[in-house]
C-alpha cells in the first residue's frame, strides 16, 4: 500500500526535478550559477496560469494532442516499477503496452504538430516519427534479453529480477544492453546528442519544434509529459543499472531517488561534453544502439 502511494507521489512530483538537476549540471560545466533546482516547477505553475494563443488553422486535435500524450504517459507510469518495488499495475505483456503507449503519445504529438500547418512543425513531426521508429527495435531487443534472463513478460518481475548475482552471471550482456538503452533514453527524450532541448533554432530541432504553437496550460502539459517520459525511461535504466536492494522499503526508495538524480547528472554531463550530432548521423547512432542490444541478446543465448 505504502509502496503504491510512494510510487504515485514520486511519479507525479519528481520528474521536473530531473530537468532541474540536468540544467544545474550543465550550468556547472559552463561555469555559471544556473537556474535553481526547482525552476521547472516554477515554469510549470506559471504556464498553468498563463494565457493561451491558439492558431486559427487548428482543430480540436491540436488541443487533444497534449491531453492524450500525457494520459498515455501517465498510464505508462503505472507499469514501470521504481526501484525494487512492484509497480501498481502489472500483468504479462505489460511491457508491450508500455512501448505502445509511447507510440500512441507520439502519434498524437505529431498529429497535433501537423494540425498547425507550420512547415517547421511538420519537419519536426517527420523527424520525431522517423527517429523513434528506429529506436523501437532497440527497446524490443533489450526487452527480449530481459525476458530471457528473467523468464517473465512483465516489467515488475523482469526488472526486479536483475540483482547482483544476475549481474555476475550476465554482466557483459547487461552492459551492452544498458549502453543501448541509454542511447534510446537520450533519443526518445530528445536530449543532446540527438536534439537540443534549449535551442530555438527550428531547422535543427525535433521535439521543441513540434510544440512551437502550444502555449499556456497546453504547453505546461507537454513539458510535464516530456519530463515524465524521461523519468520513466530513466527508471527502466536505473532498475537494471542498480541491482542492489537492502530489503528496507524506505532505504530502497531513497536509493532509487538518489540513483535517478545521479542519472540526471550523467545526462547533464553528456549534454555538456558533447555537441549535437548532424541530423544524418542520428539514424546511425540509433542503429548502433540496436546492434548493441541485439548483441546483448546474442550473449545471453550463446
Amino acid at each position: 500500500m505504502i509502496d503504491t502511494l510512494l510510487h504515485v507521489v514520486l511519479v507525479l512530483a519528481m520528474p521536473p526535478l530531473l530537468l532541474g538537476v540536468i540544467g544545474k549540471t550543465k550550468a556547472a560545466f559552463a561555469g555559471r550559477v544556473g537556474a535553481p533546482f526547482l525552476q521547472p516547477y516554477y515554469d510549470l505553475s506559471r504556464l498553468m496560469r498563463k494565457g493561451v494563443v491558439i492558431s486559427d488553422t487548428t482543430t480540436w486535435i491540436f488541443r487533444a494532442g497534449p491531453a492524450v500524450t500525457l494520459a498515455a504517459t501517465l498510464f505508462a507510469a503505472l507499469l514501470v516499477p521504481l526501484g525494487k518495488h512492484a509497480a501498481p499495475v502489472s500483468f504479462e505483456g505489460d511491457m508491450i503496452l508500455f512501448a505502445y503507449l509511447f507510440a500512441l503519445g507520439r502519434f498524437f504529438t505529431t498529429v497535433a504538430a501537423l494540425d498547425t500547418g507550420s512547415s517547421f512543425e511538420g519537419m519536426g513531426a517527420a523527424r520525431e516519427v522517423t527517429f523513434s521508429c528506429l529506436a523501437e527495435p532497440a527497446l524490443f531487443f533489450a526487452l527480449i534479453t530481459l525476458t530471457r534472463l528473467s523468464g517473465t513478460m512483465s516489467l515488475t518481475p523482469m526488472l526486479n529480477h536483475v540483482t547482483s548475482p544476475v549481474w555476475l552471471a550476465a554482466g557483459a550482456s547487461l552492459i551492452l544492453l544498458l549502453a543501448g538503452l541509454f542511447v534510446v533514453l537520450l533519443a526518445e527524450n530528445c536530449r543532446i546528442p540527438f536534439d537540443d532541448p534549449n535551442t530555438h533554432l527550428e531547422l535543427t530541432m525535433i521535439h521543441e519544434v513540434m510544440v512551437l504553437d502550444h502555449s499556456g496550460p497546453y504547453f505546461g502539459c507537454i513539458l510535464y509529459g516530456a519530463a515524465l517520459k524521461l523519468y520513466l525511461l530513466g527508471a527502466l535504466f536505473v532498475n537494471i543499472a542498480v541491482p542492489f536492494a537492502s530489503g528496507n522499503t524506505l532505504v530502497d526508495w531513497a536509493l532509487f531517488a538518489l540513483s535517478m538524480l545521479v542519472l540526471a547528472v550523467a545526462i547533464g554531463v553528456v549534454e555538456s561534453v558533447m555537441a549535437r550530432l548532424r541530423l544524418i548521423r542520428v539514424p546511425q547512432l540509433l542503429v548502433a544502439a540496436m546492434i548493441l542490444t541485439a548483441f546483448s541478446l546474442v550473449l545471453v543465448v550463446r
Binding site: 505502445y100 527480449i144 530471457r148
Partner: protein, 659 residues
C-alpha cells in the same frame, strides 16, 4: 417442411448468400432512377441481418452442416459445407458487403453515376456471393468456378471508370495476375485430383501424400492464394487495383477478398495431418518480409489509396506471420505458441476487415470532397468534414496497432508468442518482435502522414478548401466500423469467442483450451483508463484555457510574415526522411529543375514512388516473353470463318478424347 428448413442456421446462411448474389439484379431491369440501388442496399442489409446471427450461432455451437448438390456435371456431386472455419471467414463478407452497399448510396449514387452504377451494384452483390461460395465450396471444380466469378466480378468493379487509361491499365495487371494465380490453383487441384481420385476436398488431417507431392501442393497453394492475398513479391497487382477502384469496392477487395486468399492457405493446410516445419518457416519469413516491405513502401506513397493498399500488404503479412508461427509451433509441439500464432492471425483477419474498410470509406469521402487522390493537394479537411475526420482518426489509430483499438489486441497476441519464445533453446522466433516493432513504427509514420496531411493544416488547393461533409449514408457504416474497432480493443474476448471455434476446427479440438498469458480484462482496464484520462485532461485543459485569457491568431511563422498554405510540409516531404533511410526498399524518382542565376525563373520538382517489382523486373520480362510468343498472335486475326473452324476442330478433338 420449408419452414423447418429455415430453422437451420446453415440454410439461412445459404439463403443470405443467394440474396446477396441477386441483390443487384432488380437494378439491371429498372432502367432509371435510384430505386434499383436502394433495393440492392436493402437486400444487402437484409442478407447480413440473416447471415450474421446465424453465423455467430454456428460458431458458438461449433456446428458443421454440409449439403450435396447432385448435379450431372462431369466433376461429380458438389458439396457445400459450413464448418467453423468457413463460418468465420463469412463474417467479414457479411460485415463489409452491407456497409459498402450502404456507403455506395452516397458515394456512387445512381443519379450522378448513371452509366456505371447499375453494373457496379450488380457486380458488388455478385462479388460478395462468389466470395461466400469460395468459402463454403468443398469441391475443387466448384471452388474454381466461384473463384473465377469472384475474380471477374472484381475486375468489372475495378474498371468502373474505364474511360481513364490508368484504370484500364490497373485492370489488365489485375486480370493477368489473377489468372496466373488461378493457374497455380489449377496445379493444386489437379494434384489433389490425381492423389485422391475426386474433386471433393479431402477431410481435415486425412491427406497422406509423399513429401514431394505435399511440397508441390503447398507451393501451388502459396503461389495461388498468396498472390490473391497480396504477399510480396506476388503483390504487384494489388496497389494499382485498390487505388483505381471506387472506394467502396477497394474496401471489399482489401477488407475481404484478400482474406479469401488467407482462407485458401488455411484450408489447404488443414488437409495435412502433420505440416512440416519448413512450411511454417517459409510463411513466417514471407509474412515478416511482406509486413516490413509493405509498410515501408506505404510510407513513401503520395496517393491516399495506394498508401492504404500497401498497408494492406503489411497487414496481410502480419496475418501470414501468425499462420507461420502456428505451423512452426504445431510442428514442434508447442501448444501455447500455436494458439497465440493462429489466434493472432484469425483475430487480425477480423480486425483488418474492420479498420481497412473504415479507412477506404474515409478515403472515398475525402476524394469525393477534395476531388483528388493526391495527399499533397489536400489539407484542412478536418475543419469542413469533422465527423469523417473523427472516424478516420479512429481508423488510423487502430491500424497502427495502438491501444485502445483492436489492432493492438491482435498484435499483442503475436508479441506474446514471440516473447514466449525468448526462453527457447534457440530463440530465432523471438527476433520477430523487433521486426514487428519496426513495422509498428513505420506504420505510425505512414498514418500520421496520411491523417495529418489530408485532414489537418490549411487547405492546399481550392478543391480541398471547398470540401463538404459526407452524407449520413456514408457516415453510418464508418461509425459502425469505428465502434467495432473500439469494441475489439476494449473487449478482445468477444472477438476471440468467434476466433476460437475456427481455431479449434483447424488445429484440432481442444487447441483453443489454452490459458492466455494475459487476462483479457487488462485490455478493458488499460483502454478504459486511457480514454477516461484523456477526456479528463482534455476537459481540464479546456477549463484552464477558459480561466486564463485565450486568444486566437495565425500559426507562428518563426518571424516569416507572409506564410501561405503552400509552404506547409507536404506528404512527400514528410515521408522523405524515412524514404532516404530505407532507399534500397523504397525506390522513388525525383525530378528537379535547375535553379540558376540571381533571380531564378519558376521551376518544378516532381516526386514519384516506383513500383520496383513491376516496373524493373516483371514488365521487361513480360515484353521479352511477348516477343518470343509473337507467332501465337497470328491465331487471333478476327476472321470469323476461321474461328468457326477452330471451334469445329476443338469439338472433334474433344469427342475423340472422350471415346
Amino acid at each position: 417442411m420449408f419452414f423447418d428448413m429455415l430453422r437451420d442456421p446453415a440454410v439461412l446462411v445459404l439463403c443470405a448468400i443467394t440474396l446477396a448474389g441477386c441483390s443487384g439484379f432488380p437494378g439491371l431491369l429498372l432502367r432509371h432512377g435510384p430505386l434499383g440501388q436502394r433495393v440492392a442496399s436493402a437486400a444487402a442489409l437484409l442478407s447480413s441481418l440473416i447471415a450474421l446471427p446465424s453465423l455467430i450461432y454456428l460458431l458458438f455451437w461449433r456446428q458443421t452442416s454440409s449439403f450435396t448438390l447432385d448435379w450431372n456435371l462431369p466433376f461429380g456431386p458438389c458439396e457445400i459445407a459450413l464448418d467453423p472455419l468457413s463460418a468465420f471467414f463469412l463474417i467479414p463478407i457479411f460485415l463489409v458487403f452491407p456497409a459498402g452497399s450502404l456507403y455506395a448510396l452516397g458515394y456512387w449514387p445512381a443519379v450522378s453515376r448513371s452509366t456505371s452504377e447499375r453494373s457496379v451494384t450488380f457486380f458488388y452483390g455478385l462479388l460478395a456471393c462468389a466470395m461466400a461460395l469460395v468459402v463454403v465450396a468443398r469441391n475443387g471444380a466448384l471452388f474454381m468456378i466461384a473463384w473465377e466469378v469472384m475474380a471477374l466480378s472484381g475486375y468489372f468493379l475495378l474498371v468502373a471508370e474505364h474511360a481513364e487509361e490508368e484504370v484500364r491499365g490497373a485492370g489488365t495487371v489485375y486480370l493477368v495476375a489473377s489468372h496466373l494465380g488461378a493457374a497455380a490453383l489449377m496445379v493444386l487441384f489437379s494434384t489433389l485430383l490425381l492423389s485422391t481420385g475426386a474433386f471433393q476436398f479431402p477431410a481435415a488431417c486425412s491427406l497422406q501424400l509423399s513429401a514431394g507431392l505435399s511440397a508441390l501442393v503447398f507451393c501451388a497453394a502459396l503461389a495461388g492464394f498468396g498472390s490473391k492475398a497480396g504477399l510480396m513479391p506476388l503483390h504487384i497487382w494489388l496497389p494499382s487495383a485498390h487505388a483505381n477502384a471506387p472506394s467502396h469496392v477497394s474496401a471489399i477487395l482489401s477488407g475481404v477478398m484478400l482474406k479469401v486468399g488467407i482462407y485458401g492457405i488455411l484450408r489447404v493446410i488443414s488437409f495435412f495431418p502433420h505440416p512440416p516445419l519448413w512450411w511454417g518457416a517459409l510463411l513466417t519469413a514471407a509474412g515478416l518480409t511482406s509486413a516490413l516491405m509493405g509498410i515501408c513502401i506505404a510510407s513513401a506513397q503520395k496517393d491516399i489509396k495506394r498508401l492504404l493498399a500497401y498497408s494492406s500488404i503489411e497487414n496481410l503479412g502480419i496475418i501470414c506471420t501468425g499462420i507461420g508461427v502456428y505451423l512452426l509451433a504445431a510442428a514442434s509441439g508447442n501448444r501455447l505458441l500455436a494458439y497465440l500464432g493462429l489466434a493472432a492471425a484469425l483475430f487480425h483477419v477480423l480486425n483488418h476487415a474492420i479498420f481497412k474498410p473504415l479507412l477506404f470509406f474515409s478515403a472515398g469521402s475525402v476524394i469525393h470532397a477534395a476531388g483528388t487522390r493526391e495527399l499533397d493537394r489536400m489539407g484542412g479537411l478536418a475543419k469542413r468534414m469533422p465527423k469523417t475526420a473523427f472516424l478516420s482518426l479512429c481508423g488510423a489509430v487502430a491500424i497502427c496497432g495502438l491501444p485502445p483499438f483492436n489492432g493492438f489486441a491482435s498484435e499483442m497476441l503475436l508479441y506474446l508468442g514471440f516473447f514466449g519464445e525468448a526462453q527457447a533453446g534457440a530463440p530465432y522466433l523471438a527476433l520477430g518482435a523487433p521486426v514487428l516493432a519496426l513495422v509498428g513504427g513505420v506504420a505510425v509514420i505512414s498514418f500520421v502522414k496520411l491523417y495529418g496531411i489530408a485532414f489537418l493544416g490549411a487547405p492546399r488547393t481550392e478543391g480541398s478548401a471547398q470540401s463538404h461533409e459526407a452524407p449520413f449514408s456514408m457516415l453510418a457504416p464508418m461509425g459502425l466500423l469505428a465502434l467495432l474497432a473500439m469494441l475489439g480493443g476494449l473487449f478482445p474476448q468477444l472477438f476471440l469467442a468467434l476466433v476460437n471455434p475456427a481455431l479449434a476446427a483447424l488445429a484440432g479440438p481442444g487447441a483453443d483450451a489454452v490459458a492466455l498469458p494475459i487476462a483479457p480484462v487488462w485490455f478493458a482496464v488499460a483502454g478504459g483508463c486511457l480514454l477516461l484520462l484523456s477526456v479528463a485532461l482534455f476537459l481540464f485543459l479546456k477549463g484552464r484555457s477558459k480561466a486564463v485569457s485565450a486568444a486566437t491568431g495565425p500559426t507562428w511563422g518563426c518571424g516569416y510574415l507572409r506564410p501561405a498554405a503552400s509552404i506547409q510540409y507536404t506528404g512527400s516531404s514528410f515521408g522523405a526522411l524515412f524514404g532516404s533511410l530505407a532507399a534500397p526498399v523504397i525506390r522513388t524518382r525525383i525530378w528537379a529543375g535547375k535553379v540558376t542565376g540571381v533571380a531564378p525563373a519558376a521551376t518544378k520538382l516532381s516526386y514519384t514512388p516506383e513500383e520496383t517489382v513491376l516496373q524493373r523486373i516483371l514488365l521487361p520480362a513480360i515484353s521479352i516473353i511477348g516477343v518470343g510468343f509473337a507467332f501465337v498472335r497470328r491465331l487471333q486475326h478476327g476472321e470469323v470463318h476461321v474461328y468457326i473452324l477452330y471451334i469445329f476442330a476443338t469439338l472433334l478433338l474433344l469427342m475423340l478424347w472422350v471415346h
